[in-house]
């Protein structure tokens, strides 16, 4: 009992010591603030031929079970890190890299970690879901409201020239975005492919804010394509900037909703 | 009206007959194909004098033609005379089919020949079969004539 206590205390002391030693080193870094990025490390086996040999699979299964436990144990500090990104130094001396630990949002994301070599396990941090996470953070409240409007698809009554744009104006805008939108492949033919984006515009047609409605769908299992699709739509509006907006009536179109739906095109 | 129609028909019949005869004269001069079964002597080798080694088939078929039966009867006579001789019958197909189906088709053709030899008293133990599908063409050209020469089964002496 006391023995283990001593072990524990000394172990923690070492950790603290290490942190203290390395932290100042980090502070003395070059001035340029690099982006916070994370890198997932994957170990590629030396033997190139048998990634899936039955034996190996058994081993993987075993490791998987063990890893799962480890992951769950590590989870609490990770969750903390999400709220307040702690910068921790890279073990190697590539100073430009900061890693942030993020809680896994998606159970699927645990999988890649299994392939990490034990050597790097502690050092490397995974976050393949970063964008989704960022959007999540930013739009949490919006999500609440929008959740209930899922079923509202394209409203039948289009407020085109009655309230805002004339048909020609609407067509000009539409044609512009057609040209910018690269429709991704791999979309299911029978899925709901509607992506609604709400824009806030300046008078010259540049975008001050863009927001994917229904964005919480992006992280739903089996809806991976939706994220890709939504991103492609976002890329399209950004690429098209400044949008071809009418010279007048700013108040009417300063907020604009674009409904992207490639269904027709794919069936075409 | 009827009269005109009849004239039309007569002209048509004459025309068709002429066309057909032109075809048949063409055949006589060079190509020896009946239906699409090869009937000529090119590519044919002989087990002994007067005993051709191969028979030919129609596209996608393994039925024996009259000519094929005659050839096989000659082979059976020859085999009866040479009791120590064993043979392998190689089945082949033309290059106008999928590879795997052609392997099966070659097998079926070789067995058709084997069965016929057996009905003429040759023991099945003396005959083995092998299919090459489209892998070993006798004529390497990509023409209907070459294909007809490749749809074949060949009896080969093994000892």
């Amino acid at each position: 009992m006391t023995k283990s206590l001593i072990y524990s205390v000394s172990f923690h002391l070492v950790i603290i010591l290490l942190t203290v030693l390395t932290l100042p080193f980090m502070i003395r870094q070059p001035i340029e603030l690099p982006p916070i990025v994370s890198v997932e490390l994957i170990q590629i086996s030396d033997t190139t031929n048998i990634p899936y040999a039955p034996k190996a699979r058994k081993v993987i299964e075993k490791v998987k079970k063990e890893e799962k436990r480890v992951v769950s144990e590590q989870a609490p500090p990770a969750a903390k890190a999400k709220e307040k990104p702690d910068r921790i130094p890279m073990p190697e001396d590539n100073k430009e890299e900061k890693k942030i630990v993020k809680k896994k949002q998606n159970p699927e994301e645990i999988k890649p970690e299994i392939r990490q070599s034990s050597e790097f396990e502690k050092k490397e941090i995974i976050d393949t879901n970063q964008i989704a996470a960022l959007i999540d953070k930013a739009k949490e409240e919006a999500a609440l409201v929008e959740k209930n409007s899922n079923k509202i698809t394209q409203s039948n009554q289009k407020n085109s020239f009655a309230t805002g744009l004339t048909l020609t104006q609407e067509d000009a805008l539409r044609a512009q975005i057609f040209g910018c939108w690269s429709v991704p492949l791999g979309l299911p033919y029978d899925g709901d492919l509607l992506v609604r984006i709400k824009l806030q515009l300046k008078q010259d047609g540049t975008i001050t804010k863009s927001e994917i409605l229904d964005h919480e769908r992006m992280n739903r299992p089996g809806q991976k394509f939706y994220k890709i699709l939504a991103e492609s739509a976002l890329r399209a509006v950004r690429l098209c900037q400044p949008l071809k907006v009418p010279p007048t009536g700013y108040e009417k179109w300063k907020e604009l909703q674009l409904n992207f739906d490639p269904t027709e095109m794919l069936k075409g | 009206m009827k009269f005109i129609k009849e004239i039309k028909n007569t002209i048509l019949i004459i025309f068709v007959t002429l066309a057909l005869s032109a075809c048949s004269t063409g055949k006589k001069s060079g190509v020896a194909i009946d239906g699409d079964v090869y009937t000529g002597k090119d590519t044919v080798e002989y087990l002994a004098k007067g005993v051709p080694d191969r028979i030919f088939f129609a596209t996608n078929k393994s039925g024996l033609t009259t000519a094929a039966r005659a050839t096989l009867r000659k082979q059976s006579t020859y085999l009866r005379k040479n009791k120590d001789l064993n043979v392998t019958i190689e089945g082949h197909a033309d290059e106008r089919g999928t590879r795997e189906y052609n392997l099966a088709l070659g097998e079926r053709r070789a067995n058709a020949a084997k069965d016929y030899l057996m009905t003429y008293g040759i023991s099945g133990k003396r005959i083995s079969v092998i299919s090459y599908g489209k892998e070993r063409p006798a004529n390497t050209a990509s023409t209907p004539l070459a294909w007809s020469q490749n749809r074949r089964s060949v009896t080969v002496k093994v000892n």
Partner: protein
């Protein structure tokens, strides 16, 4: 109850808002290839040199492989490197997005690598240039000899991130390498990376070999060999080179394929001129007869869930495609179009069957739904057959033979690939003539 009321309120509130909001429907886009810039990877100057590999140029090489992969998909347009403005190391750290946007790139790939203690470490990032942010970042460690595979894996990750579909670059193709005159063709088993690199020959060419197919683990190959003039289905372990005959059949076995779990081999066995379909369990050696018909039943292929088998049969008089349950029951003909149908192969996604069609002297590669509906012919030629699916079910690889002259001259056999949309048909370079391709699954998953 209160909650319900609140929701209703929110919906009402929202829809009244929506009424005020102008909506524009965007129902069309373009399918032009996405312009992407692949920066050469930055090579750490402290990197060790490993024999046979020039570490210094490795960054350039890796980026070239990625570009070649992207180009081959027809979905991406890798931009000319001459226009690149930022140095690789700085671009990888923090790209100046406006500079890259200037050359009309929509996505950017950066990376760096080093070789230390005999280990290669490669890191890459994919940047969304319109949104000015990172989309994915990964690092890999491996032995330096695997550097090409790292380039393929990076390509796969980017492809998946941008298209939403799994990639197919870290894969191999096994095929039959051909040489010599048409009537005495020498055929060897050959294996290469999906991009044509690393060709290795697995047999010497002493006997005829045909129709190799990978098992799901990509470690075994089943094929037809004429060893000792006995055409039989063989099993080959790629790692050890060990070969064995599959089963103890008293006649020709052919047209082998693995079951999706890799435990069984399904094939045809020809007896007395009649070919039927059999399976053999590789471990227990138990043989089962699946079809029983006096016609030719061959070219069997399992559905990915293992529940169904498609095959071709001439039981109707002509070669047509049939589907049955994996125990051989419930046989249904699915092709009724004019012409012959053969070599059905179930797609890895399970929704389509690829096939060869012969009609009026022309050969077609096509796809249809598993009930035979929705037939789409992708390509027409003098002779082509034997489609094999890419692991993501997006691309088909097959072989094509040319018409030969009066004495067999001008004959060639080459591998080709085509997207299931019918676009992006391209020849795949091989060292020799090639036929009977079979695409592996992803090597790293």
């Amino acid at each position: 109850m209160y909650k319900k009321f609140l929701f209703t309120f929110i919906i009402l509130f929202h829809s009244s808002l929506a009424n005020a909001l102008i909506e524009v429907d965007i129902t069309r886009g373009n399918l032009d290839p996405l312009p992407i810039a692949v920066s050469p990877l930055y090579v750490d100057p402290k990197s060790e040199n490993i024999k046979d590999i020039k570490t210094k140029s490795l960054g350039e090489e890796v980026s070239k492989i990625i570009e070649k992969n992207f180009k081959s998909t027809g979905l991406f347009n890798p931009l000319n490197k001459d226009a690149f403005v930022q140095k690789p190391d700085i671009a990888h750290l923090k790209p100046r997005f406006e500079d890259w946007r200037l050359i009309k790139a929509q996505a950017l790939v950066t990376g760096k690598l080093n070789v230390k203690d005999g280990k290669l470490k490669v890191e890459f990032r994919l940047w969304d240039l319109t949104a000015s942010k990172e989309m994915i970042a990964l690092a890999f460690t491996t032995t330096p000899g695997n550097w090409r595979r790292v380039a393929h894996i990076i390509s796969d990750k980017i492809y998946e991130r941008l298209t939403g579909e799994e990639g197919y670059f870290d894969t191999r193709i096994i095929y039959v390498a051909e040489s010599g005159p048409k009537n005495r063709r020498v055929k060897k088993l050959a294996i290469m990376d999906q991009d044509g690199a690393n060709t290795k020959y697995l047999t010497l060419g002493n006997e005829l070999v045909l129709t190799p197919r990978f098992n799901p683990a990509n470690q075994m190959v089943t094929y037809l060999s004429y060893f000792r003039n006995l055409p039989r289905v063989y099993l080959l372990d790629i790692e050890t080179g060990q070969q064995e005959v599959v089963g103890n059949f008293p006649g020709m076995t052919f047209a082998p394929r693995f079951s999706p779990d890799g435990k069984k081999i399904i094939m045809s066995f020809a007896k007395d001129g009649n070919s039927d379909i059999y399976t053999m369990d590789i471990e227990t050696r138990v043989v089962e007869k699946i079809t029983e018909h006096s016609s030719i039943d061959t070219s069997p292929s399992f559905s990915p869930d293992g529940k169904y088998i498609c095959f071709n049969s001439d039981r109707s008089g002509l070669q047509q495609i049939y589907v049955m349950k994996s125990d051989g029951s419930d046989v249904k003909r699915i092709t009724f179009g004019s012409g012959l149908y053969g070599t059905p192969v179930w797609s890895p996604r399970g929704d389509l069957i690829a096939f060869t069609k012969v009609r009026k002297g022309k050969f077609y590669i096509g796809v249809m739904r598993t009930d035979g509906s929705g037939e789409r012919l992708l390509t027409e030629n003098f002779y082509q057959e034997a489609p094999s699916w890419s692991p993501n079910g997006r691309v088909l690889i097959f072989y094509r033979e040319t018409k030969s002259g009066p004495s067999g001259e001008g004959f060639s056999a080459k591998l080709w690939s085509i997207d299931i949309t019918g676009y992006n048909e391209r020849k795949i370079d091989t060292e020799t003539d090639a036929s009977d391709p079979s695409w592996s699954s992803l090597l790293s998953k």
